[in-house]
């Protein structure tokens, strides 16, 4: 990051964070990781959220009042997370924004719930990040992992004529299992589609040679491999699969979106990722490309993956709900959020109901990587929302 840009960042956010708090200000609290493992995942989405807040403030504020941001570091520690939640609440936060991951964000979200405040996960994709795992005032602005698996299965079936699927699950996280769960839900709904094999591995496995041997032992290569994994193991798995000469299309969740890792697998092709928006400058919506430019201006770097976007979306939908409720009262804001049906945002429509505060159906861009170059090739929305009951079972 160049010094000049760093200054720009300080100027924009510095005013937001350290400016004097006026009695009239609306306080938004970030109980997110500023250090440790989660920092790398929280920061980009948080920056996007700050961009949206800045836009709102420049446009006259929310309910005519300026939004003021307070932060507390969770240090990627669960117990510290709960403390960070309390800290921002003590500073008067009306909205508590918590870590990207459900496990690390939940303690702070639970603190907000106990205080009767609205909480939003920055980009959690588990059904628990919302009513089932926190309570009636909690939301996530991203799209469920299961939708990603379901989207890829249905899209590959329709557009790539895939019939024989292979499923490779990394059992490390709920996110990974969520992708495969969505895939499992979708597969029986696709006529003639069949699962020709299934296997598991662990993200930290030094080698997945035996899993690959199992794929190679199939009488014929599958039409598509559903790979449910995330960083850092994903790169290793993809590299080993391609190195073994398996050329079948690889379907993934959004966790592997981004070009920062592609250098590890030169000339990767036939590789598909669902994304809420494109970071590659070719989003069908020009406003997304404008946002990317703005993000670069403010932070000094391009968005590294689609996980920047949910941060922007959450401030967007929350502020709309506040404007509509004409109040900061948590119940009133939640009621307005739950009225949203296909509410347009820069990164696809959002729907919340009293049953689910997450997206069980969503529009995804399909990003295909060919010869190491990712590009938007299609857009897909699953034909049927995944029923809440099925999601909870998983």
């Amino acid at each position: 990051m160049s010094r000049l840009k760093a200054l720009g960042l300080a100027a924009t956010f510095g005013a937001l964070i350290s400016g004097p708090a006026l009695a009239d200000d609306i306080v938004v609290g970030f109980a997110t990781a500023e250090s440790g493992f989660m920092q790398a995942y929280d920061k980009p989405a948080q920056d996007a959220a700050l961009i949206r807040i800045d836009e709102i403030n420049k446009a006259g504020g929310l309910l005519g009042r300026q939004i003021k941001v307070v932060t507390a570091d969770t240090k990627t520690d669960r117990a510290e997370g709960a403390k960070a939640g309390l800290e921002v609440l003590d500073k008067g936060a009306e909205l508590v924004i918590v870590s990207c991951d459900y496990d690390f964000g939940a303690p702070a979200a639970l603190a907000a719930e106990a205080a009767g405040k609205v909480s939003f996960f920055l980009c959690a994709e588990s059904i628990k990040a919302g009513i089932p795992g926190v309570g009636p005032h909690s939301f996530s602005s991203s799209v469920l992992a299961a939708v990603q698996g379901a989207t890829m299965a249905e899209w590959a079936y329709n557009k790539k004529n895939a019939r024989k699927f292979y499923r490779l699950l990394d059992t490390w996280t709920v996110y990974n299992k969520g992708i495969c769960d969505g895939f499992d839900w979708q597969l029986p709904r696709l006529k003639d589609a069949e699962l020709v094999g299934s296997d598991t591995f662990k993200n930290e496995d030094a080698s997945i040679a035996s899993q690959i041997s199992r794929i190679k032992a199939l009488p014929q290569e599958p039409d598509a491999i559903m790979l449910c994994t995330m960083m850092p193991g994903a790169v290793s798995a993809i590299k080993q699969i391609r190195a073994a000469g398996i050329k079948a299309p690889i379907l993934n969740g959004s966790g592997v979106d981004g070009s920062y890792w592609l250098s590890a697998v030169p000339d990767l092709s036939n590789f598909f990722v669902p994304a809420q928006g494109s970071i590659y400058g070719d989003d069908p919506n020009p406003k997304v490309n404008e946002f990317n430019k703005k993000y670069k201006e403010v932070t000094g770097g391009d968005p590294s993956s689609q996980y920047v976007y949910p941060g922007y979306v959450l401030i967007d939908v929350w502020s709309k709900a506040v404007e509509r409720a004409k109040s900061l009262d948590a119940d009133a804001v939640v009621a307005e959020l739950e009225k949203m049906k296909d509410e347009p945002t820069l990164f696809g429509p959002r729907t919340f109901t009293s049953e689910i505060h997450h997206q069980n159906k969503g529009r995804y861009l399909i990003i295909e990587t060919t010869n190491g170059k990712p590009a938007v090739v299609d857009e897909w929305t699953i034909s049927e929302a995944i029923p809440v009951a099925d999601l909870l079972k998983q």
Partner: protein, 346 residues
């Protein structure tokens, strides 16, 4: 020959001092009135339970265990099974047996049963593992931890897999945690002065000579293993009620190393060492976190960069161990007397 005062009279001062220190910390915290700080102290009291729990086995037997956080895992999940409302369990943990789904116990009964479950598990596994000693025993306990972790991370219908289980009632506040810590310190003290405690410590110093004194080390180790599993199981339950969510990842290597470090830095062969290790390390961590957030010095804010706290605490631990290889308390117990009879020569 002068009549010797009873064992209890000779050693009780350690117990009283440790309890007074814990109570004083709780009272001061309440007076300060900061909610985030109060949570820090609650977490510290739970750590006291964990470290003293490990001490009961490790300190008395001399066998380093990497497996005890497995008991914390068992305890925390048991507390989840016993206290989450039935409606939530039906959905999130459908694999639980019916009687468990339909039970919802009061928190203290649940914590006690959670401890018992951990103790029962320790009894079964310990009958095999306690035959080992030295580094082989350490590795075997680590293998036990790994097995527990793998099972709880993947038995989705009963444990929720790698995902967090939610819906555990919030309960553990500062007085509950203080009560838990005091209770555990008392248990550790009573074990230490018991027949089994003495025999086990003899075995720690000289296993062969202990056997030649009629001590069945395997049995005494098993007793300590089971008691410490109970204590840590209860601590796990309170931790669940403290955080409101449990996740297998929270009971794996990270917490194993931090608790062992606290024990060793404090002095692993004494109860005072276990307690002081937690207090001193927690204190330093808190201090560094305040520094990280920034200290206001006459208008200018002085702050250390994020992440430096972790590096510093690691260095502090190395330095303490360099100068005090047997820990801050030098493996002694704190007593009224300065030149106590319990002073080991060095």
């Amino acid at each position: 020959m002068a009549q010797r005062s009873s064992l209890l009279a000779r050693t009780i001062s350690t117990l009283i001092i440790l309890i007074l220190i814990l109570v004083a910390i709780a009272v001061v915290t309440k007076l300060l009135g900061s909610r985030p700080f109060e949570r820090t102290v609650v977490e510290m009291f739970i750590r006291v339970m964990l470290v003293v729990g490990i001490y009961i086995f490790v300190g008395n037997s001399g066998v380093i265990s990497f497996g005890h956080m497995g008991f914390m895992c068992i305890g925390a999940y048991a507390a989840a099974w016993f206290t989450i409302p039935a409606v939530m369990k039906q959905v999130s943990l459908p694999g639980l047996p019916n009687f468990l789904i339909n039970t919802q116990l009061p928190i203290f009964l649940s914590a006690f049963l959670a401890g018992l479950l951990a103790a029962l598990f320790a009894l079964i596994v310990g009958r095999i593992l306690m035959r080992l000693s030295g580094i082989a025993a350490s590795i075997a306990t680590f293998a036990m931890l790994a097995v527990i972790n793998v099972v709880y991370s993947n038995w989705d219908s009963v444990t929720g897999g790698t995902g967090s289980i939610v819906g555990i009632p919030f309960y553990t506040g500062i007085w509950t945690a203080l009560g838990g810590a005091i209770l555990v310190v008392i248990i550790a003290y009573l074990y230490q002065i018991s027949r089994s405690g003495l025999a086990l410590r003899a075995g720690r110093d000289e296993a062969t000579a202990a056997a030649a004194s009629g001590v069945n080390i395997v049995r005494e180790r098993l007793i300590a293993f089971v008691i410490s599993a109970f204590v840590i199981g209860v601590a796990g339950a309170l931790y669940g009620h403290f955080l409101g969510v449990v996740n297998p990842d929270a009971f794996y290597l990270g917490v194993t190393f931090i608790t062992l470090s606290m024990l060793v830095v404090g002095g692993m062969n004494s109860l005072s060492g276990a307690v002081m290790g937690v207090i001193v390390i927690s204190g330093i961590i808190q201090l560094l976190r305040w520094l990280e957030k920034g200290v206001d010095l006459g208008g200018t804010t002085l702050a250390i960069p994020n992440g430096l706290q972790e590096i510093t605490i690691g260095l502090v631990m190395i330095v303490i161990l360099m100068f005090r290889p047997s820990g801050l308390t030098r493996n002694r117990e704190i007593t009224w007397r300065f030149k106590g009879a319990t002073k080991p020569s060095e």
